[in-house]
């Protein structure tokens, strides 16, 4: 993974209102064990390919794909690594060093802000503008 590698994250249907994604988008959920999953953009190839994998292989829902880079995570003290499990392009952003829930919320919010500035990497054709 290079510093400029894009890390794709899918936005859940519930976390989009009036085309604005929630700051929770990059926040680890309970099943993430402090390490939310992302796609390594260099391996999956494109945001659209990650969408196809997410919705057709994993059968999960997505209203679109946002991305941050490995270096943006690193600047915030969040190591991002490709682990290749359970699929080759699988990567994680590591929040486990965060000491408080507030810190996790703040850093996840910062990543979402950066991703929004970068704009949607992919939106399915039937998604609202």
């Amino acid at each position: 993974m290079k510093p400029e590698t894009l890390l794709y994250r899918h936005v859940n249907t519930g976390w989009l209102q009036q085309a604005v994604p929630s700051s929770q988008t990059f926040r680890p959920t309970q099943k993430d064990d402090g390490k939310p999953s992302v796609y390594d953009g260099d391996i999956i190839g494109s945001a659209e390919a990650s969408y196809v994998h997410w919705t057709e292989e994993l059968k999960l829902t997505s209203v679109g794909v946002l991305a941050v880079t490995q270096s943006e995570c690193s600047i915030h003290g969040l190591p991002a690594v490709t682990d290749g499990v359970p699929f080759p392009s699988h990567a994680t952003i590591n929040f486990t060093h965060c000491k408080t829930g507030g810190e996790i919320r703040r850093l996840a919010g910062e990543l979402t802000k950066l991703a929004i500035i970068r704009k949607w990497q992919y939106r399915p054709p039937d998604a609202a503008a």
Binding site: N12, T13, G14, W15, Q17, Q18, V20, S22, S23, Q24, T29, Q30, K31, L60, T61, G101, G102, R105, R106, G109, K113
Partner: protein
């Protein structure tokens, strides 16, 4: 003309704490007067079994008036004015007054029975229970009207729940009306029937009368429905025995909604099922969402920007504001309504069941708005 103070019901609930009576509750009192007189006539007929109707004009010169509001949440002083009869015997009560008192005792006995699991029809004819469809309709959850009944007798307490039991105690009654607010898109207007139809977040379509004074707003909303414009309809809703709204009997107000309207968004969140978040994610509790919407409506200042509203993994709700570069948020646990505020390094906790908690939240948002405005001016 005689004047008799005969009932002093006490209104309890947040809206009555300043000893004031909202005008919509006064409609209930008007219904109560009709109710009393109807039951008084029934009592007279009980005493005169050979008569099929009451004497002409019986009770027509009786008026129940609100004479004052006393302190103690809000205590209403209800006085009967009886125009025509001054008893010939000093200190005797007129027949009208006697039947009025019996009517009030019968009504309060029925309320008490409904509250304690008894049978309201033991004290009131079933057909008169329909008056409870109007009397008490203005009460909201958590509010009540308490009637003291003299020494040794427990007070009778009318709540939205006891009112419902009373209305549905009458045989053949399948619907109950109640104050209702519903939000949705206008999908149809029918000038011939003078009705319009809104589609709620659940997909249910509900028909309502088309009030001439709101016709233009409703037509505008219908035109703009494809772009997601919604309205709030406030009126008298008709509910079935399962408490499902089946239609509006009357419309009092129509309000076009902002795209970020919070209660409308909370309606949508009620549709989330467990597992909504990639297999995880707890479904938010519908009652808590309703309550949050009401609290937001009651306490969040209109002049402040509306937040985006999102579900949280644990079945709560997160409000997120976009105030230029600032992106404050508050994560609200349900059903505790404890809110964890976060804006940059600023963290705070608010109890959002209380007016103070909402005031604290509003202060934080207002302060950020003021900072942005000052920066823009500078």
């Amino acid at each position: 003309m005689s004047e008799v103070e005969f009932l002093k019901p006490r209104l309890d609930g947040p809206r009555f704490r300043d000893h004031a009576i909202p005008l919509d509750v006064l409609k209930d009192l008007a219904a109560f007067e009709e109710f009393l007189i109807s039951v008084a006539k029934t009592e007279w007929l009980k005493d005169h079994p050979t008569r099929r109707r009451t004497p002409r004009g019986f009770m027509s010169d009786v008026a129940v008036k609100l004479k004052g509001v006393e302190e103690g949440s809000a205590i209403l002083v209800l006085t009967a004015f009886i125009a025509s009869t001054t008893p010939l015997i000093p200190n005797a009560i007129s027949p009208q007054q006697a039947y009025l008192q019996r009517a009030s005792e019968a009504i309060l006995e029925a309320v008490s029975a409904a509250e304690t699991g008894g049978s309201p029809t033991d004290s009131l004819p079933a057909k008169t229970l329909a008056y409870f469809d109007r009397f008490g309709r203005g009460l909201r959850d958590g509010e009540s009207i308490t009637f003291n009944r003299g020494d040794g007798i427990s007070p009778a307490r009318l709540t939205p729940q006891t009112r419902r039991r009373l209305v549905l105690a009458a045989p053949g009654v399948t619907f109950i009306t109640d104050d209702a607010v519903r939000r949705g898109t206008v999908v149809d207007t029918n000038d011939a029937d003078r009705t319009f139809t809104i589609r709620l977040a659940t997909g249910q379509e509900v028909k309502a009368p088309l009030p001439p004074e709101h016709r233009d707003a409703i037509l505008d909303a219908q035109r703009e429905a494809p772009s997601g414009i919604r309205i709030a309809v406030h009126g008298v809703g008709r509910f079935n025995r399962s408490e499902k709204l089946v239609g509006f009997d009357g419309v009092e107000d129509i309000t076009p909604l902002e795209p970020l309207d919070v209660p409308a968004r909370l309606d949508e969140l009620q549709l989330l099922k467990a597992g909504w978040l990639d297999g995880g994610g707890k479904a938010p509790n519908a009652i808590s969402l309703e309550k949050l919407g009401q609290l937001f409506t009651d306490y969040y200042p209109n002049e402040l920007p509306l937040p985006y509203t999102f579900p949280t993994e644990n079945g709560g709700v997160q409000f997120e504001w976009r105030i230029n570069e600032a992106t404050p948020e508050i994560e609200i646990d349900l059903p505790s309504f404890r809110g964890e505020w976060l804006s940059g390094d600023d963290e705070a906790t608010f109890d959002l069941t209380s007016a103070e908690g909402w005031a604290g939240l509003a202060d934080r948002v207002a302060s950020l708005v003021a900072t942005i405005l000052n920066e823009e001016i500078a």
